[in-house]
Amino acid sequence: MAASWIRAEPFGIHIVPGNCWVDPARPVDTALVTHGHADHARGGHGQTIATPATLAIMALRYDTRTGTVPVEYGETVSLPGGVKATYVPAGHVLGSAQILLEHAGERVVITGDYKRRADPTCPPFQPVPCDVFITEATFGLPVFRHPPVEEEIGKLLTARAANPERCVLVGAYALGKAQRVIAELRLAGYAAPIYLHGALERMCRLYEELGIDLGPLQLAAGLPKGALAGQSVMAPPSALNDRWSRRLPDPITTMASGWMRIRQRARQRNVELPLIVSDHADWTELTETISEVNPQETWITHGREAALLRWCELNQRKARALALVGYEDEDD
């Protein structure tokens, strides 16, 4: 088996010679973190090696001011045991990285979460040739084909324009999705203020500090109902059906997520206007990326691994599923 110096343990990927872990689900001495989502980035490690943006995101959530090792994209760090780690853009959210590990003449790429579509809030995914490609499979079923993001943003703008007495309420995850949707709205020419749920404010401010322009943003709290008619409001998904949204004028509830492709998933969320906007690769991109990277072996971390395994089998590619725990299905 290739890359026997890397082991998939239930709570993370173990780099044995350096005794380091990638995205571990529990505190370890040395953690290499691909991106800031809570299921990948946890607090309490002795040392955290990540991109400066990911470290800044983690600092908002955990006490990670000590033991941080920032690594720029394209920069290589040496780990104990003669392992080299290089961070490469993954295109998932701001700061997200793939990690290229080199040891004993072998190259292993861990994608973390990634996507191939353009995203105005982060640099694009770069394919890296390797022997072992450790990929995510969140949308690893052939039913998942994300439409162009412009189409989905268009739906949002149309719904808003057609309902001047209502407001559009967009459910989007606080890290990444919310800022991407805002940035896409700006690209589509939407210049009006976008109103935020309090839970999104800090992360949006951080994005701006890190150089991502999001245009005029305001907190929705404290505004009279009438002031929000015809406006766009953004909230975390948990607030969509919560008491919080009762302050809004008859909101058109939308949610920006790759899961919105499946009607019943949208229905389970009581979404009136599903927007298929994902920060993960869809089926076509997952399979095309494997073909493009063309590794000797493909390891699949989390998601719908059975179907991607089957695709590898049909295409005579050596592959295996890693049984990792703790990665959430839903954070898209």
């Binding site: 084909r145 009607r263 009136e272 206007l273 089957r310």
Partner: protein
């Protein structure tokens, strides 16, 4: 087709009844004939294309997608039409969608031989949402939470006519319902159905639950366990209709042949026997009736072995006179006289139970279990015969369900709103003493009885306690106890346990109860009344 696809999608994402009514009404007003008529037929499940079935769709997909990938996708999505619409290879050219009427014409022209060629050509003209709408329309399985009644209410709302009139004129009409639209939208004469044996909508009952009724105002009858039917004779033809308005005359020719007087009668289809209610005035079990159901033609042997008859509950129309506006009491008098003119081998009249108080009736109902009777009905004596379920008029009072503690054994993902959740549960009882190495044998399957919150909990329980996977089925570690409620239990050769439950549902989740304390097969067997 785009407008229809948009309507379907909007309906899927709308939960409020009023908003759904508005969406359908807007569509009906905006869309020209005959598209709106076909769309209405699709919403009320009135379309059938014999060559286009789920099996054909699956086969068509298998020719284009790996079967394993298809199965995994179908399992995840929980709906064949939606899975197919998403998996369908996107054509290189822009969509050229047909009108609904054109699509219906093409679908209706398909044969089993041509469907594999013509359906793909049609799908290639549509985008993903259009493909979903087309496949839903073609297979008649909408599963979007729209009942025929809701669609008819929307129709009435769209054109400001009464929904009772819509119900009345609806039957006997065929899609695309041009006369119905001409009447409602353009003020033409309503379609007439005097000489046709038309179906009239049934009057239905609410569960009694905690309601207290004054027995001076209500009459009680036994609730027989057969199928509710309507027998209509008009213009020299007799038809037998099921609860949903399906014509089942071919399944019960002896009944259809026995009514020769113009009338509309309401009753329970049963088979002669003594299982329910004893030898005197009784009937065979539902199992016996089941032998007769679902057949297009019936053999002579069947007719002899399982002779059917109808126990009459009500009369809607007798010899041209519409009695529906009269009280139950008046209709009952007509029914009793009328029934004397019918063949006693095929028709009798449901007996009225003498009870002066609800307590007395409760005692009578309690004894009914020994007679294997489902329960009692309460009908307000002054109630007119009105379509649907109206509060306060008719009640059903089923006897209390039987309960047994079972252990969760297998789970499967559900469909519709339970899609992607593990929500279909197979449970079992012990075949002996679990502490002496007894095994669990499956005794039933249920997919309702729990709340949405409990469903989430159950789904996560299944995921955390899976010990084996067989395709879409997960075997659990058999640690969770369900209190299962059911109406009755019967001998069955189909199950290893030799028993089959009727209407099983999860009554309570007993996470507190250790699995070895669940019930044994022998306890369940004692409840058999076959």
């Amino acid at each position: 087709m785009e407008a229809f696809a948009d309507l379907l999608d909007a309906l899927v994402y709308t939960s409020s009844r009023n908003a759904k009514l508005k969406l359908i009404a807007d569509y009906l007003r905006r869309t020209p004939d005959p598209d709106r008529g076909w769309a209405l037929a699709a919403l009320t499940a009135g379309l059938d294309f014999p060559a286009v079935k789920s099996a054909a769709i699956r086969k068509m997909l298998m020719e284009r997608v790996d079967p394993v990938l298809f199965a995994l996708s179908r399992d995840y999505v929980g709906d064949t039409a939606e899975t197919a619409s998403l998996l369908w290879p996107e054509p290189a050219h822009p969509p050229t969608p047909p009108t609904v009427a054109e699509a219906v014409e093409i679908l209706a022209g398909m044969t089993r031989a041509s469907v594999m060629r013509e359906l793909p050509a049609l799908l290639d003209r549509l985008d993903a949402n259009g493909r979903y709408a087309l496949l839903k329309l073609a297979t008649g399985a909408m599963r979007i939470g729209i009942s025929a009644r809701l669609a008819k209410t929307a129709f009435a709302g769209a054109f400001d006519v009464s929904v009772d009139d819509v119900e009345e004129y609806w039957h006997g009409q065929v899609a695309p319902y041009a006369p119905l639209f001409a009447w409602a939208a353009n003020g033409a004469e309503p379609p007439s159905g005097e000489d046709i044996p038309l179906f009239r909508p049934f009057m239905l009952a609410h569960p009694l639950d905690e309601t207290i009724v004054d027995m001076a105002k209500y009459a009680a009858e036994w609730k027989w366990d057969g199928i509710r039917v309507q027998i209509v004779h008009a213009g020299d033809e007799t038809r037998v209709y099921s609860r949903s308005g399906d014509d089942i005359s071919g399944t019960f020719p002896e009944i259809a042949a026995a009514l020769k007087i113009p009338a509309v009668l309401d009753g329970e289809m049963l088979v002669r026997g003594s299982h329910q209610g004893g030898a005197e005035g009784g009937a065979a079990s539902f199992n016996a009736l089941q032998q007769r159901l679902g057949r297009k033609t019936v053999s002579k042997k069947m007719l002899e072995e399982y002779p059917a008859f109808v126990r009459l509950y009500d009369v809607l129309i007798a010899e041209g006179e519409d009695l529906r506006a009269h009280s139950w009491e008046q209709r009952r008098l007509v029914l009793e006289t009328f029934a004397q003119r019918l063949d006693p081998e095929r028709f009798d009249v449901s007996q009225v139970i003498a009870a002066t108080s609800l307590d007395e009736l409760a005692a009578i109902r309690e004894r009914a279990r020994d007679d294997a009777i489902e329960g009692v009905m309460l009908k307000r004596r002054d109630s007119a015969y009105v379509a649907g379920r109206r509060t306060g008029l008719w009640y059903k009072w089923k006897r209390d369900p039987l309960l047994v503690d079972c252990v969760l054994m297998y789970a499967q993902r559900g469909s519709g709103k339970r899609s992607s959740f593990y929500s279909d549960f197979t449970f079992g009882c012990w075949d002996g003493d679990p502490d002496q190495g007894a095994e669990l044998l499956p005794v039933g399957k249920a997919y309702f009885g729990f709340t949405d919150e409990e469903l989430k909990w159950l789904d996560s329980h299944v995921r955390r306690h899976t010990v084996n996977r067989f395709g879409p089925v997960r075997e659990t570690d058999k640690s969770l106890v369900f209190e299962v409620a059911f109406d009755s239990v019967h001998e069955s050769k189909r199950h290893k346990s030799g028993l089959a439950m009727r209407f099983p549902r999860i009554s309570r989740i007993r996470a507190d109860k250790p699995a070895h304390e669940a019930d044994r097969i022998e306890a369940l067997r004692k409840l058999v009344r076959d």
